[in-house]
Structures are given as structure tokens and as C-alpha cells.
Symmetry: D2
Subunit: 449 residues, 4 copies
């Protein structure tokens, strides 16, 4: 029997849903740019952006960090009593927030929504029960599940990794957990299933057999793919690149590393990438680079929309607030045809000092407005061919004559040696025009209306 928490209001300071009020609004609890039904090209903003709220940072956390305990005012977390009651209270808070914010999606780890039991069976049963709750909330509110994932990193059993654990019994434990979480995700209509590397990596190479561990990881993924097909889940399986943290070296280092891995192990047709901004920057890449890599390979799955601090060396998971950064990434996403089954998940957390519940709204509203504004700039750039046209012109010589022959494999080194000996080909470099292009992008960003 379920206690009725839906009558309880946790965000009482936000008395009604966040509305679009336009760029001139000074209401901090209104959207200035995110206007869900506004058409941008042939889709609505909502359809382009597919925002999701992350259950973990916003509902399962309390503001603790490595140097101190929690600070946030989260009444749904406090209190003793039955952990399942607490889980229901948390879910009530979450759906109240989703609804008031107007977020169409959410994402979760199994352990975010349901507590561990004392046995695996009990853990599963807890998760099943909370899935019942979630189903009712989703039905009531219309909020959908962008993706689910299993937490394979918090518990001591997975200290040395889950799929890459030196102990096959712990691999089995992880497999069991993922099976259950995939089933729940499927049942809740999840549109993707995500595997974040967690502790799949190493703390020291001194005790690590990388070759073995990568084989294990691939085996695990094959099992996930097989299971997906066996249960008729038609969502996308996603892996998330991250270079390090918590481990010294995460195997899913960055987009190209993962793509190489998937190709090696014959998984490239079955698995796509969930790319996070701050993971990109920790790997030394601009976010737009990681997106472009995935788009070029046809492997962009979804996005964790957050940001890092360019001066800090850890995953700060801040809410996005740079239109400059996001406009370029959205441009690549649009170039690739959009997010598909994916979306923009705010894998972002409030700062520890942002203790008020209402800060959750400020953060998400800011993030959504930034992404909306970025979408508008990106769409205008793409519609005008501002960058794509410039690129097409730059490489035009490859579309004919010598260029085409070379790419067709019709020329050997010796052929080109002869050609170069014979003719004095022009050699002067052509301007790359970087500064002019940067100005052009700025123009698009500042003109968004």
C-alpha cells in the first residue's frame, strides 16, 4: 500500500508552473527563451531539446562533498523510518518538480529511486515497487523517461569495477542488476538505456590487466545488447565517455576511444554515445568536438547538458550557462539530424551553497534558456549555411578532378610524385579565416530573438 505523498507539496514557493514570458521578462522564475511550442524549423523547441531532469543530483543528493556533509534543504531525504517511504517521498518531490518546471523527461539510476535491500531479491522487489509508483506519477503528469541506468559504482562490491571486476561473481552481480534495471526501463517506456563507466577503469596499472578488462567490458555489452533484443526493447543503448574520475583512467575515455572499442568488438551498430559536456572538457576536448566526432560516425545518442569550470580539474557538473559553447554543439547536433531517441539531460548539480529548494528552479530555468537560445542561434547558422557553406567552399577542390581521383584510390604515391615533378602546382596557403568565422558566429548568437 502506497502512502499518498502526492498531496504533499515540497516546492511551495513556486506556486505554479514555470511559464514562458519572453526575453524582456525580469521574472527569475519564468523562461525568457524556452518556449516549448515555438517552431524552430520543422520541429517545436520541445521536440528539438527533449529536456530531462537528472534524478540523482536533484533529488537523491544533499549537497555533501568530499570535504563536508550535506547542506541542501531536502526534507524528502531527511528522517528515519522506512526507506521505501523515503523513496516514495522523494519521488513525490521529483514529480512535483518535473511538473512545475515543465520538463518532459527524467533520467534515473536504479538506486536513485529505490533503496538497496539486504538481498538482491529484496533490492529487485524495491525497484519493482518504485517502478509502480513511477508509472502512476508518469501517467498522472505525462512526464516520460528519457533513460534509465544501473548504479554500478557506489557499493563496495564494485570498488574494482563491475564488468571489469577481477572477480567474475561480481561481474555476474552487475549483470543481474543491469538486467533488472533494463527491464524496469523498458516497462516505463524509457527511450534509451545508458551505461556510464563508473569504476570501469583502473586506479593503478600496477594491478591491472587492461586487455582482460576490456574483453570483459565488451562481453558485458554484448550481453546487454542481446538482452535488449530478447525483451523487445527498441530504445538505444548508450555509453558515456569520461576520461577519469573516480578512477585514474576510465576505459570510456572519450568519443573516439569508445568508437574504436565498439568497432573492435563488433558493437558499433548497436551502441551509441551519451556525451557529457564536462566529461569532454576533462578529456581535453571542446564539447563541440566530441559531438562532431559522434555525429560524423552516426553514433550520437544523447547529451548530458552541463558544464565544467575550465580552471578546475574535476567534474564540477555545473548547469550550462554559456550560449557560446552550446550554440556550436547544437549546430553539430542539428547537422546530424537532431537528438533522435536522445535528449538533453541536466546532469548538473547545484553548488553546495545553493541550499534553497527554489535554487533547483533557477538552475534548471537558466539551463533551459541557455539551450533554447543556443538552439535558435544554431538553427539560424545552419539554415543560412554560415559554417557549412564556408566548409563546402573550402574543400570544393576535393569534389572533382585530382581530388576525386585520389579519393577513389586511382593514384599512387609514385603517380603523385611524377605529377609534382612534372607540374609546378600552386602552393600558397589560403586563409583559414578563423577570426572572421568567430565574428560570424558571435553575430548569430547576439541576434537571437
Amino acid at each position: 500500500m502506497t502512502t499518498d505523498f502526492s498531496s504533499q507539496e515540497f516546492f511551495a514557493d513556486v506556486t505554479e508552473p514555470i511559464r514562458y514570458e519572453g526575453p524582456d521578462s525580469d521574472n527569475p522564475l519564468a523562461f525568457r527563451w524556452y518556449d516549448a511550442d515555438r517552431m524552430v524549423g520543422e520541429r517545436t523547441m520541445a521536440d528539438h531539446l527533449r529536456f530531462a531532469v537528472a534524478y540523482w543530483h536533484s533529488f537523491a543528493s544533499d549537497g555533501s562533498d568530499q570535504f563536508g556533509v550535506g547542506t541542501w534543504d531536502r526534507p524528502w531525504l531527511s528522517g528515519d523510518g522506512d526507506p521505501m517511504d523515503a523513496a516514495r517521498r522523494k519521488m513525490t518531490a521529483a514529480f512535483e518538480f518535473f511538473e512545475k518546471l515543465g520538463a518532459p523527461y527524467f533520467c534515473f539510476h536504479d538506486l536513485d529511486i529505490a533503496p538497496e535491500g539486504t538481498t538482491f531479491a529484496e533490492t529487485c522487489s524495491n525497484l519493482d515497487a518504485m517502478a509502480d509508483e513511477a508509472e502512476a506519477h508518469m501517467e498522472r503528469t505525462g512526464v516520460k523517461l528519457l533513460w534509465g541506468t544501473a548504479n554500478l559504482f557506489s557499493m563496495p562490491r564494485f570498488a574494482a569495477g563491475a564488468a571489469t571486476n577481477p572477480d567474475p561473481e561480481l561481474f555476474a552481480r552487475a549483470a543481474a542488476q543491469v538486467k533488472h534495471c533494463m527491464d524496469v526501463t523498458h516497462r516505463l517506456g524509457g527511450e534509451n538505456y545508458v551505461l556510464w563507466g563508473g569504476r570501469e577503469g583502473y586506479d593503478t596499472i600496477l594491478n591491472t590487466d587492461m586487455a582482460r578488462e576490456l574483453d570483459q567490458l565488451a562481453r558485458f555489452l554484448h550481453m546487454v545488447v542481446d538482452h535488449k533484443h530478447s525483451i523487445g526493447f527498441d530504445g538505444t543503448i548508450l555509453i558515456e565517455p569520461k576520461p577519469h574520475e573516480p578512477t585514474k583512467h576510465q576505459y570510456d575515455h572519450d568519443s573516439q576511444t569508445i568508437i574504436g572499442f565498439l568497432r573492435k568488438y563488433d558493437l558499433a551498430d548497436e551502441v551509441k554515445l551519451n556525451i557529457e559536456v564536462n566529461h569532454a572538457t576533462l578529456a581535453g576536448h571542446d564539447f563541440v568536438h566530441e559531438i562532431a566526432v559522434a555525429v560524423d560516425e552516426g553514433m550520437l545518442g544523447s547529451v548530458d547538458a552541463n558544464r565544467g569550470d575550465p580552471r578546475l580539474g574535476w567534474d564540477t557538473d555545473q548547469f550550462p550557462n554559456s550560449v557560446d559553447e552550446m550554440a556550436l554543439a547544437m549546430h553539430e547536433i542539428l547537422r546530424g539530424g537532431g537528438l533522435g531517441t536522445g535528449g538533453l539531460n541536466f546532469d548538473a548539480k547545484l553548488r553546495r551553497q545553493s541550499v534553497d529548494r527554489t535554487d533547483l528552479f533557477h538552475a534548471h530555468i537558466g539551463g533551459m534558456d541557455v539551450m533554447a537560445r543556443a538552439l535558435l542561434a544554431a538553427h539560424a547558422m545552419l539554415a543560412d549555411g554560415a559554417l557549412t557553406g564556408a566548409k563546402a567552399r573550402r574543400y570544393a577542390a576535393w569534389d572533382g578532378g585530382l581530388g576525386r581521383e585520389i579519393m577513389a584510390g586511382a593514384k599512387s604515391l609514385s603517380d603523385l610524385h611524377d605529377l609534382t615533378m612534372r607540374e609546378q602546382l600552386p602552393e600558397a596557403p589560403v586563409s583559414g579565416g578563423q577570426e572572421a568565422l568567430e565574428n560570424l558566429v558571435n553575430r548569430y548568437v547576439e541576434r537571437v530573438r
Copy 2:
């Protein structure tokens, strides 16, 4: 007709070849650890280490940096007059150094040994003439060529890349140059041919079509491989990972990126990796990691032995001087069966204040002793199974029972779910023993004799 520079002595302060004098020597111009003929396992030190001197840093450079002109006392570089005379003088100096140092190998770019002419034909003819000179020096001294490579980055024509240039005529120019350089390398008995990415990357993604450029790069490599076979060159083709510098993003980012690229374009059986310490660390990897990746994939080709400054964000190309760092890397190299056709090339430059010619000796002697000491520590660790044994024990459960079944593909997620439901598998983590292993490695390093 060749002027006889071999009578000219540039390193007169070093009156005789550097000798091994043993650990107790205080002679800074003697080896304390590198004892070429000492047996380490079944090979001599010389056979294990296969040292090469880099022509560019040590003979073609003058100590200039982005903030100032050259400072080094390099009489072979100064002076006007015929560039070919200067090239011969430089080569005389180089071989005097190789001989006095006792380095068995050297490495070069085409433009290090021969000046550009006013036409491509003249450039080729200069290179051919200098190859004649080199042949004579090699014959005279017994010094061999570890690898050659073409400089595809210094000239304005390649400002936007060589193989990845937006202009196919510049691709052709690069191809012609590589063809000629491969031929010369082959003729000189080079044991490998290297392609360093140079400017194969982008300065800004705003003007860059990565997909096109990567296709071009793959095409270029296929042409190189075809040419290798067509001329009967049986050396190894090598690519060198580097994450950035001079470009913002180098396509040959790190080992795993390259391996993924080679696999995608069906080049993985034909090309191996030349891994540089400072490029690894710029990519955020320990050197040993990059080596281990390549060894595990059977794709380690050769090594650029240098070091970076862990506090600085550019390629400092300092001489190696950390036995701690190198012992772990040598351990992986030995685990993989050694360097094969590759070697340890000192892609390292003196600091700008190290203006004396004799500083070149100090730097190389230090580097060679460090590598020799690292080899001794690594060999002892491997012989004792200090790390390999610990790893084998750690993963032993994968060698039988459940582990073997999983890896054989005999278990589905559901099977493992059932198993986990049915049996309460043990879950307690086992110590990774990192600190104890670090102590153990230190023990090996300090015990080298």
C-alpha cells in the same frame, strides 16, 4: 664532389668515445649504467635499447623558441654560403657526435639533412645528394638509420595540413615528398618509416570538415602502405600519437584514437605506433599507459624517449631522467617482447640555456643511463613476475568456472540474474594492494646494480 668535412672536429672537448665506467664513476662524460654488451636476459643492453639520436633537435636547431632567437653554439649552422655545404657540415658534426656517443642509430626528417630547393625536383636532388653523404658516413661509422620521416609541417604550403589539406594539390605535394623520403629511407637501410601528424588536425572546428579530413588521412596512409610494398621496404610504418600542438586538435590524439582509426580504415595490420613520452602526458596519460595499450594490441612500434614537465602544458621535449617513469614503461615493452624494429629515439632537446656543445653529451648520456637503469629494473621485475604474477593471481577466477563460461558467451544477463537471485554470491571487495605494489616497484628500482 663532396668537400671533406670529416677532418673537421666539432666536439673537440670530448676527445674520445664515451665509455662505460660503472655506477661509481664521477666522470660526467662516462656511462654509469649503459654498458652496451652487458647481457640482460637473453639480449645485450644495446639490443634491448636500440638508442637513436634525433637529427632535428640536436643538429638542425639552434635553441630558438617562440620568444627568442637561437643561443646554442652550433658552428655547423652558422655562416652563409652554399646550403648544401652547410648540410654537409651539419652531417659531419652529427656523425662525429653519434660515433663519440656510441649511439647505434639516428633518425631524421628529409629537411633536417637536406635543404629545400627552389623546385621540388631540386629538393629531391638535394636529398639524394645528402643521402649519398649519409651512406658514406654510415658505412664509415657503422651507425644505422632507425627511421626516416618527411617534414610536412614547417613550410607554408602545409599550414592547413598535408594529407588533410583542403587542397588536393597539396595532398599531392605531400605524397610526392613522402614517396621520395621513403625511397631514401629504404636505400639507407632504415628500419622503420614514421609519419608524425604535424599539422594533421585543426586549429578551429569552424572551418574544418573532420570526416573528410580523416578519410583523406586514411587514403594517404593506404598509399604509403602500398608504396612500401611496391618498393620492397620491409621496415615498419609508424604513426605517432600527439593530442595537440601545433594544432588545437591533432587527429593522432593518443594510442587508442589511432588504433581505432587504423581499424576503421583497415590499416591495423600495416601500421604501428611510435609513442612519445611527452605526447602521452600532454594527452593526459601516463607514458606506461600508452605503451601498455599498444602492447596489448600488438601495435607497439617504437618509442620517442623524452619527458615533459608535469607542470607545463606544452611539449617540452626534455631528455628522460626519471627511472621511476621509465622502469614501468620498459616493463611493458619487455612484456610485449621488446622493441622489434623500433628503438628508443631521443626526441629531446637541450634547454635554451644549455649553450655548450658538450651539453649535448651530458643530455644523451643522462638519458641513456636512465633508460639502462630502467631496463635493469624492468627486467628484474618481469623475471620475478613481481607485477605479472600479482595480476595473474588477481584475475585467476576468470580462468575457470563461471568466468570462463561468461567469456565464452555461454551466459546471458538473465542467466546471471537467475544465478544472483538464487545464490548469495560473496561481495566483499579484495584489496587492490596499490601501495604495497608501489613499494615493491620502488624496491626494484633502488636495487638496480
Copy 3:
């Protein structure tokens, strides 16, 4: 006798001065935001921003980098013949550019405008002659000198530093050069004199006596200050923070390091800071932090307006293009009362592929528009007290009662211990409101008109 280069036109593609055309202009060779005479508060934009063009990057360089020779189309640099003729040609090009761009100021190193002679006397006489030329150009065009500085880092003599050289004779050489350069700066009406650390730092601590070198540096600065007074120069003496590059450790590491140094050596009243964006970020600081530090200490002198690439570890010296970054810094500058005798100097260089002369215009126009837009946003924020008001409210309790007593020194630890024992003071944290403030700043940036 001076050849008349002023009849020669180097930027013929830009047929007339760059004009302000407003935000809707699509003309890449027009300002969209920089409107020199527009009033912003009580000053014109021009008076707020005080733009300067850097002679070195834009006129004395050729696009070479550590990996390749020059690429830029700079006819004033090419050609043999008399170095003084070349210097005049370069200056003609520079002033044509200043005028067409509408930059009110320029900045130079002595060696940018005049070639070294074979003796110090000849070097001085070259500089004096070029100062004559500059004077005529300045008179003709109305362009003014923001600051001059001496190049104490390019020549071999200063490989081990200038003021911090182990050799007092090289200290003397540096002093002589600075004396001459200060005199020329004074004569040209320079509004500041800058000392950039150059090679004042160390490559290795193994050979460096930091205590001695810092004493030398302080002595040098005292001599500079004394000379300033002795010649009646009423400009500001500025030092420029940079953490490293070219040396491993630059003594002028960051703002706080310099301020501590100035205070220790009793120079804090005489010397201010010239803060560069990319030097701030290399030191691990946001630019706004470095500005705020200097403003709080009353020591902000001038700004080198450029940007780094947050993924790269060296000084990329790109043109500024982030209004987000610059708006916060301009806010601090305005809070401190503006730039005083300083200005915004574009210590920024084109990318090596930006080979066209017109790229220089694109880059500067982009930079000026970004700074103008940043000024508008910053001014609006400050006028509204958007941030300053929030801060005043946050710390209000320090303005009275307990706070005032504590700061007045009226309370000991024991007093506060007693107080805390006696009364249960409220302890709940108050929201720092970071995300809401970030949204607020975005609002100001996007509303600039």
C-alpha cells in the same frame, strides 16, 4: 633621410576607415557595437575602452611558430636591403592600419620598431631615428602611444634573464636598454611604461638562487622608478603577470604574487599591473579574478585583451571573442573607476592560417565589438547594482553590531568563545544564489543593445 612610405598602401582591400554600422550590419568590415562616441555613463566608449594595437604580433611577426616558418602575407617584412628601410616600411603599414581601424593607441617593444645595431650605440641611434618616424606618424594620424617596453628576452644575452641574470654586466645591459626605451616612450607621450617578465624566472631550480634573483629584480624596478621621476615621466610603471612560458617559472606569476613582491620591496605605491587574459588563465585564474584582485588593491594599471584556449596549456594569444568572459571583467574595471592611464591592448595574434592582410581587420574588429558589448553589459549591471547590491546585502551584518566590533579588534577568541557558549547563535547556511546570479548576468549580456 626618410623614404616616403606613407604614399604606399598595404591594406588596399580596406578602402576606407572601419565605421560603426550598428548591430544589424552584415558588413564584416564594420563595427556592430563599437561606436566610439556613444556615451556609456559619463564617458564615451572610446574613453572607457582606450584600445591599442600591439605592434609585435600584428606588424613584426610573420606567422611562424615552433613547428614552421612564417605564412602571413606581410610585404613590409620581406625583402633584404637596409634594416632601417624595412623598419620604416613596417611603421608605414602599422599606422595605415591604426588609422583605418580607428584605434586610438598602439603599444611597442623597442625592437619591434627599430632593428638592433651591431653595437648598443647603434641600436640606440636606430631607436631614436624610428622614434622620429613614429612622432611624425603620430602627429599626422592622431594615434597615441599607450605604452612602450623593452624587449629583454629575444636576444641570446638575456637567455638567463635580464634583471635576474647571474651576470651583473647583463643586468647593466638591460638597464641601459630600459633607460633608452623609457626615454623614447616619454618623448612619444606614452601613457605608461611596461615591464613584462620575459625570461625573469627559471628553467630549473637546480641552478637558480631565487632569493638573489628576486632581490635583483626589485633593485631593477627601483632603478626604473627612480628614472621615471628623474625624467619627469608621469605615466604609470606596469608589470605584467605570467606564470610560465618561456621559463618554467616566471617570477611575476600572477597578480597576488606580484603585489606581494611589490609590497615586500616597497614598490607598491609606484608600480601597477598590466593584466593579460591568457596569462591569468594559464595561472589557473579566471581573468575576472585577476582584475578583481588588482582593483581591490588599487593596483590595476592596464589590460592585455586577448584570450587563451581553455583546452591548451600555452599562451595562444587569440583575439578576445567571449562577451561572457569580458563582461565580468569590465564590471570589475568599472567598479574600480575604469582603466586610468591604461587601456585595452590587443596582445593577440592571428592564427597561422589567417594569412591575409585583411584578417588583421577581422580580428581587431571582432575584438573591439566584443569589448564594446562587454562594456555595455557591465555598465548596465553596475548601474543597476545587479551584483554589487547582492553582495552588499549578503555581507550587511558585518556593517553593524558584532561584525563591526570584530573588525575593530574589540573581540578576542575568548570573547567569542564565551559568546558562543552563552548564546545559541543561528547556524543555518543562507543560499549563495550562484545559479540565480549566473542567470542574471546572462540576462544583462543578452539584453545589450
Copy 4:
């Protein structure tokens, strides 16, 4: 009444004290280098190194990180019941470890040894009671207190800083806590009292008045200094540099920043520095640099001996294991006359996978051996003047003639201009000899016996 936990043994696998067995020992639970009574120069190793164990990492933590719960086998932490009983159990474990390891010192935060009560009074009384316990343990074992400190960062009240809090009542709360902790430290014979910045910094400059906060911090420190004198504590007051983490910007950024701050606020004679290896490297400095800065200023207080991972951007707090790194730092420490009232505190934590209690021994033994070996190398270098002599020779010209006159203030810029005009001073750079010096240092390290 105190339960007698001293009969309980937590480290039963280590049956007797760790002994020195010499370099040839293969016993991982023996010292190979740390031989407490061995004379090194005029002091014993123990007197030089003054090792301390950090209570927090080794006894109050459980292996949790931001991504997961605790993993370590720490029976003294588990269990419910009276928090004071738990605190006594923890202390019993700690002193058992100190004794078996043979560490002469420990360090603690107030909250490491005593739990918070529900009121400040209760917290104080808990601390007093645990101080009684500690006193008994110290008496029994001879283990001494290197320093105490107050935890001003874990509790929500200090989310916005302690001394730098926007709320003076929380400043008061922090002051009260420090007062109590200083009194306890004094009573226990602590040889120093440390203030680590904790959250004294900012998360965003948008809400931060740095000038106010720095004034507050200085006021706080003055109160600490006054209290020290008022209670007759003759230990040293220490501040610990750290550039960031947990805050984005810590005010105690690095040694030079702190020294500048202390000098500005007239605290330089009263406060010294506690320098941590990993904090140095996070600030972009080699550890030896930070030590040298403090030594040169006469402000080295104590050392937190740990290490970071040069590839990771957060404070990994690993145990030291690089003799190379530590030998240079010990050389500077010895040059400065040694550690004074300070010591080498292992502010280092086991990796999360190092779950066994015995791993604590491996880690500390490894760290102590590394420091002992570093001491031996450093002492030999200093005794031989290997580096100091080279430096003295390099700067010798400053000790007489022109150098002395310059430093005495007898020369103006104009004087040196005249001199340079008049005489052609030699300008050729002298080799900095970096590579030769690096080889020399390696020689000392490898020769340690």
C-alpha cells in the same frame, strides 16, 4: 568512566613493531631505509624527519568518495551506540597503529577525535574528554602531537567559509571552536597549530566581496596569534597553501600568495607555512619550488608529505613514493636548517580499493622509506655542495665590483646606460648546465646506501 579499549587489538596481522631491516630486506612490513637512530649529519633520521600520522585519513575515514560509500575494513568506525564510545575505539586503534609503526607524532582535527554534540558546549566537553583519553595514550606510548587544527569546513554552518563567512555570527562560531582547539592542542603539548583554508575562498566571484573576506581572514589570524600569546603557547601558527578544492578559489592559493597576505596584514613574523606536496602541484608548482620560496623567506613551518597524480586535477592525497621529487625538497629543507617545530605529516590516504587494515602499514612504511632515502640523498648533495656550490659559482660576479655596487643602490639606469655605451661588455650566454645538473642529482639519488 573510560571503557578500556587498549586491550583491544585492531591490527592483529602486524604482530610487532615495524623494524628497520635494511635495504636488502624483502619483508614488506619492515623499513628498508628509515632507521630512526641513524645519524645523518648531526641529527638522527628521526630528528630530521619528525614523521606524523594524520588522524583523519587513516582513522576517521572509511574509503568513501564522491561516487561511492566506504569500503575500508575499519571496525572502529562501524556500529551504532554512543558516539563517545566510538571515538574512544577509534583512538585506541590509532595509538595501536602509531606504536606499531613507530611514528613519533600524530596530527588531528578536533572533529577527528571527538564527535560534535548537539550544542557547542557539548562539543567542547566531548573534545575535552577525548583530550583526556589522548593524554593517557600519549603518556603510555610516548607518541607526541605535531599539530592540532579545527575542522571549519565539514559542517553546513561553514558552507560559505568560517573566517570569511558573510555572517559574523559564524565567524564567531569559528573563533570559538578554534579557541577551544588551540587550548586542547596546547594542553597536549602540540608543537604547532595549523589553519587550513577549508572553505576560505569562493565558489563564485558573483556573490563574493574578496576585499572584505580577506580583511576578515586577517582579523581572524590576528585573534589566533593574540590567543596563542595569551595562553603561553609557544608552538608555531601555520597556514596551509592550497589553490582550490573544495572552493573554486582558495585564498591561501600558494606560498607566495600567503606570504604576501601575511606581510600586508602584519602577520609575517607570527605565522609560517605548512606546505603540502599535492597542493603545490595543484597550484602549478613543483613541490620543491614551494619549499624553496618558504625557506628563502624564513617561513617554512611544516610539511604535509603526500603526492598527487600529475595527470589528475584534484587532490589525490596519495602517499609519497618518488625519491626524485622528495630529494630536491629535502635538500631545500636542509638548506633552511631543517623542519624546526614542524615535521612530515602523512596527509595521505589509501586508495579506495586498499581495503585491508594492513594496507595502512604498507602505505606508511613506503612513505617513510621514501622520505628517508630522500633525506640521505639530500644530505649528501648539501654536504658536497653539489647544487649550492654550482649556484655560488654561477652568481659569483654579483659578489663584487659592479654587482655589489648595483645591489647597494649606487647605480642608476643612466649610470648603466653610460657604462654600456662606453664599454662593450661581454654578452655571450653561459651554459645553464641543466642536463648535467639533472644527471648529477640522479647520481646522488642512486647512490644512497
